[in-house]
Amino acid sequence: MKYLIALFLGIVTGAVIFAAVLVYNPFIGKSGLSPLEVSDSRTMSLSYSAVASESIVYTNDGESTMDPYPEAVEQLWEDTIRQSSAMATVMRDGRNQTVGLGIKFSSLSEQTRLLSGKALVDSVWYVYLPGRGAFFLEQTENYWDYLRSVVLPAYRSSANTWKGSWLGNVTAGPGALGTAKVTGSSGEFEGLDMLAVESIAVKAWRVEGGPVAAEGRLLIELPDVVDAAAAEASQKLD
């Protein structure tokens, strides 16, 4: 009997060791430097609030950490969409001025592999910038580092809250260098293929409600043709 108890305790200990190694393994799921941060090309930065109550609309299945906003919004409770979320939000430029509207649809990815540090989300953005045009962004995001550095510590905290400073790129593809694919559709972006990276900066997170102080950012690499169009528009304004 004592051998059975020893075996059982060993199995439990082994499972716990495995979970600890998986979560704290520094070699997996770490979001590295974005290739766009060191690019020579001109980039466009668009930021948005990653707090649900600071968006225009945010909805999910109603049972996830982040609460839908406004409260009366229809929830995505049906089987086919319950692992998805939808958000409409204001997009701001580097000077914190409103420059457009962004709509983001996200769904948990079937390519998720926790064993290799991949907590993946398939997401798309539709961004419309009045006076400039619209573009569509597709990406796979990896939230492993975010879960490990922000969410898990919040659950471990006696106050069910995490406070600190976490900044990470969540875009993990489909580009070979971990970039998102951007397709322009109108205005100065029409017909253009671009690259982008989405990052999130979190300062406070709580178990009930999710991010309390957090900001997201889309960094988009602009081809030369957009630079020329922007310069031309600027000259006309002068």
Binding site: K2, Y3, A6, L7, L9, G10, I11, V12, T13, G14, A15, V16, I17, F18, I56, V57, P70, E71, A72, V73, E74, L76, E78, D79, T80, I81, R82, Q83, S84, A86, A88, V90, T98, V99, G100, L101, I103, F105, S107, L108, S109, E110, T112, R113, L114, L115, D122, V124, Y126, Y128, P130, G131, G133, A134, F136, E138, T183, S185, S186, G187
Partner: protein, 193 residues
Amino acid sequence: MVKTFLVGIILGVAAAAGALYANPVVDQERKISYGSVVLNGGNREIFHINIPADRVMNGGAGQSNSVPDGLVWPNDEILATVSTEMFKLRNEIDQIIGIAARTVAVEGDESSSVIDWVLHIPARGTLFINMDSMPADDGRRAGEFNTGTREFQAMTGVVTERWVVETSDDEDAPDGRIELFATYVSQLEEAVE
């Protein structure tokens, strides 16, 4: 007994790793897609949205019928000519299969408006569609696929939208529905020499 404990640890590690490897963490619910072959090639699929039941959001500057209650449209002049709606998306047999957004932006006169659809079907992918500014005489509006993800990545095609008023006397009947007729054509693969 120590040896048994150590064997248990190895078994525990192996069992945990095996369980994580074998069981998919995410499994999106799929519904059968109901397509039909069209005469000049390609396949057609019909989506629809019941109004008002499937409307998740209706926002725009100065709108009196904003959805949901409590929605506050940003008071920024730059967004004064932009409006957007978000819906649950249904297949031909009325099953909800995804979510969709329709954004309208008036730039100058109505003929240069931007009207874009994003259809997001979690188990299949996303379609991004650019619609014509002006509808045809019969009220239908045509559009083209701009790009797509996953299942829709290798597709080109066209979409037609139309509003159909519900004529049923049923108390629970919707006011009407938005119908989207999508015709898919696969992109030709480059010839291999």
